[in-house]
Subunit: 355 residues, 4 copies
């Protein structure tokens, strides 16, 4: 059974739900490669990468060390289920430089070389999209540091993205690096166990997702979008990414069911706000609108309709006008700490109180 | 918070979700009238009738006996929430003739007369749609009997519908009477306590619903549809009604996500079947289709996608053809015991096995 | 169906689960009095007070104003279900002095007098336990203020408790007042609608509860305990009260399933911690214990067992010793901001690493 | 997080929850052996057998064929978590003779021989407990047939148990064979995928369990109990086994909270029935008791308390007497079709109606 995970498409772009960092028994994971495909299908994803470690193979006594096998084994199941499968690998070194995922490889085995520069270069030569995984991992106090090793790889043009979310954790430092350096934000599960050990299907316990805004539903479409930086990241109930993506994601998820009304004097009107999207929305009024006062805080759960109360502020006001309710979406961050600004629009016929 | 309850609209008709038999503290119920409106909004309904008993008023020591008060009290809340509220009452006599709901009354008090013929006549004169409630209630072995009293009311033209579902119970005898006598099938909760004592929000424990197929979303629209017999009844996960309604309900709920494929020889193809509707679907193959063998039984939960496996039956077959998978929907009954026939259509390019 | 809500009894005392502030249609609530009893039974409570407003009766056009009726109507159902029912009322004035609940009344009607001093005095003369409700309500910024009116009532000996929790909100200012003034902390739902509109059955969305530590399961037992200050308050997943109550609540809820082990060198041992109680436990290590290092943070959900990893810190240590793991229970507050200190005890046979 | 699965211990015997038929990547399963242990711990089990196929190794291109490896790999995790792990294997042949599980092996590799008689004999010589798996599998219409091959193995003394439950399906034919032939009934998941693909944690979707009534919590304890036939089988919400086991399982799960009452005339009394056990109970009155009439059908969900209404039948009856309510537990079957008889006992002081 597949649970659907609704994120609206953007104008001219498909919104693909991806987890681009997962493991199997072929490195230190605990499931067969087909399980990752099946889990992705059940969880409503469009695409995954299986990215077993190149250098860390704790099951090698019992399992083949051929680094292309996870992809080869999983591909028929991916095709049968319509899940896009990306050939990938994780270059795994001590910090710094740490761990790097290379996507869209043609031969994972070729990355098994002593020097990590060589591994990254070979991946790059295979046309890989490369991102640095969980920068804060094993750092003092979990604080991410931009080492000279990263700078060097970036300068060489080999680094294209950063994991701002790995597993359950969002890293605002890394998010800011994406903004500053123009790198593609990524959010992935890095799952080793069966996904159900770590995640469920509700907004509160869902696996992280990289939303990829692609021109077509294909591996090539995802690749083009990643290189062009067209992603947003979902971490449980938070969404992180550029305003140009978060704005239409919000607009495509939210619907006012009763946007037109009459309002006499200081009467109250209950606006019905529907959230079709897969994440709950946490709205906070940015400033009081003109002509009405509106609820200061509104929580709109995924798939539900809630009431947002507005109230007239004058007994004399009359005439029809468009009223904009200026909200901030507290759980949609366009940069660290900066929520998306989102307006809800009503058309109100104001009626004066007849004395 | 309102949970949405998706049933597709029909060609030219809105599908309104209604519970047309409920009680409040003004007879033997245990909630204030506004609570019924609020519950309906939360449960995703479009309309309700509050139908307190005319004759049975166990709270009369403490609560007003004015039989119009429930409607008057509830109406402002109904308007604020956009729930259609129908003025109604339950004429409550010993069996036979038993209990009758009269909808669209203009004055409930007028029905408080000694003789039930008079009560029904007055309701009829007010333009009421009248239905007989829970015919099997208090009958020996719960078996519904069509008494001469019912026949007489029917002959007078005062009887328009029958509760084939009351609370959690579906009554096939009464369903058959609707078919035979051309009466409108109704399904209602008859709730007395807070709705959450008796029902939840999943297909398995949801309150019964009368689906009304109306030309407009208004009390008048519901009235016209009821008199014209345009209803279907939902009872937990069962749907009951005429084929002309159940067919488009099914068609509007089900979607094949990958209807086109190639199929080589005896290969297997996984058809992805999506159920957008609010009830699970229980599909059973009516007969084996041409050119492929298909899964004999498929359960498609509400809001989910499932896999339906088909398999080629010949190694020689070639060419493109439309393949119809002839299923029965076991939980959509067009008459008692007769499930809806529903075809799923694929377009398959058959490829012979190359030897 | 009744869901059980496990809180352990204390040495010599029964732990009774109470909601001592609820409303019905007899004031501004929306359910019949019997519903409050039925809800309490379903929610696993032992006792409730129905405390309709004395002065605020918005349904009086339709409902009796006899302030003793809610108790009289609900009592038979309470007896049938074994729920203890306390006759109560809410004295309802502008702030200050605000709203006061009087429990264990003998005649609610007698409190219907113009001056609130008289109302409180009459309640006191009936032997009532009186507490001030939701002190922060309608105050600027919701900040609770101890007015001279409260001081006066306290000085007269009429004030015995304070709501540190009302509905979903915990008020640390009021909690501190209880500590400083020796008043009994109370936590109640103040529910007006059907309880299911506002609360569910999980630790995250459960109604507030006043835990009363009583010598016997009776109304008299509750009364004696309240006057003696023997309560703790549960608000969703937080527990508030004196250490003498929270300590045994914790001890009676938590069990180490495998407290004895051998530990060689720096090996890891997985301690299985079981939480029988109705609230999740949020444990944080206060300081590193002797001889082992232990997990810094452990979440133990209600009704579950979790693993707490400890690790030897020396390769030379040998011999059997009792090891105490000094945790703080972050969601058990003995005063505002001060979590309960709780030790977990193990018996470890340390084994040196053989070289 | 471990969910507890309460089944009461029996007099002198521990009730151990076991799944004795599971697969890993070492045959045709899809998880690493440690996952089976971790899943068992999470699901509240005490013991599992990993029973990979001896002869069917579809992953052999990539995974070691050493048939002892699953046990060796899983054992350290089993010890750390306190899950008992049984070395096992599945002898896998065409039907007949079909598939057989051998538990408590010392060397799985030794069973890899051409003739299945030899494989069974070698298992027997290793001291194995051998059971025939899913007898109805791949049989015409799924109907189990007792082939001469089975009879032969039974006569040799090599066959000790039968799977009356495999995966979600209970087979009454096989249950009857256990009764007739004195074989031990087994119920197992035969899981290949991550357990969460197929099962959840509620009574309705839980994995099958073999309850083993053991003298000690050890592999040896389980072995002794299996050879002595001391098991019962749980399949979702059904429990199957001998009356000597089901009787105390029921008695240890059910508790009457208010067994003593007075009953005047034809008054109604609400008996509170608590079910501490992990399966719901479906009670049906076998015959009307003396002195009272009782509810004909009662559903007692796991972990809940429900009300069972009894009513006096005489206005004259007086005096104290023990009243037995003779119920059948419809979902506890001692043989196919025969529910357990279980009495609920009350002590009632009958009071005559004073005229």
């Amino acid at each position: 059974v597949r649970s659907e995970l609704f994120f609206p498409d953007l104008p001219g772009l498909l919104t693909l739900r991806c987890d681009l960092h997962t493991h199997t028994v072929f490195s230190d994971g605990n499931v067969w490669p087909t399980v990752r495909v099946e889990e992705a299908w059940r969880d409503g994803l469009d695409a995954i990468a299986i990215s077993d470690h190149i250098e860390y193979l704790p099951h090698k006594t019992d399992v083949s060390t051929n680094r292309n096998r996870p992809y080869e084994i999983a591909r028929p199941r991916a095709e049968a289920l319509g899940v896009l499968l990306i050939r990938a690998a994780e270059i795994t070194r001590e910090e710094p430089p740490g761990h790097w995922n290379a996507l869209f490889l043609t031969n994972c085995e070729a990355l098994n070389v002593p020097d990590y520069h060589d591994a990254l270069r070979i991946a790059h030569e295979q046309g890989a999209f490369i991102f640095w995984n969980h920068p804060g991992w094993k750092q003092p106090d979990g604080k991410s540091v931009w080492y000279k090793e990263q700078e060097e790889v970036l300068q060489k043009g080999w680094l294209h993205g950063l994991e701002i979310v790995n597993g359950p954790a969002y890293d605002p430092t890394v998010h800011q690096w994406c903004v500053d350096k123009g790198l593609t934000p990524m959010g992935n599960s890095d799952v080793h166990d069966p996904i159900a050990f770590d995640y469920g299907n509700s907004p509160a316990d869902r696996r992280p997702i990289t939303l990829v805004f692609a021109r077509e539903q294909s591996v090539a479409g995802i690749r083009e979008a990643l290189f062009e930086g067209r992603t947003a990241v979902v971490c449980t109930n938070g969404v992180f990414g550029q305003e140009r993506f978060l704005q239409p994601l919000f607009e495509g998820s939210v619907q006012i069911l009763n946007p037109e009304t009459t309002l006499r004097g200081k009467a109250t009107y209950l606006v019905q706000v529907r959230n079709r999207g897969a994440v709950d929305l946490d709205l906070e009024l940015a400033e009081q609108p003109d002509g009405v006062s509106a609820a200061g805080r509104v929580w709109v759960p995924s798939g539900k309709v809630v009431l947002l109360a507005i109230r007239g502020v004058s007994e004399e006001l009359s005439g029809e006008r468009e009223v904009t309710l200026p909200y901030r979406v507290r759980n949609f961050l366009v940069t660290p700490g900066q929520p998306l600004r989102a307006d809800l629009r009503l058309r109100i016929q104001f009626l004066p109180v007849v004395k």
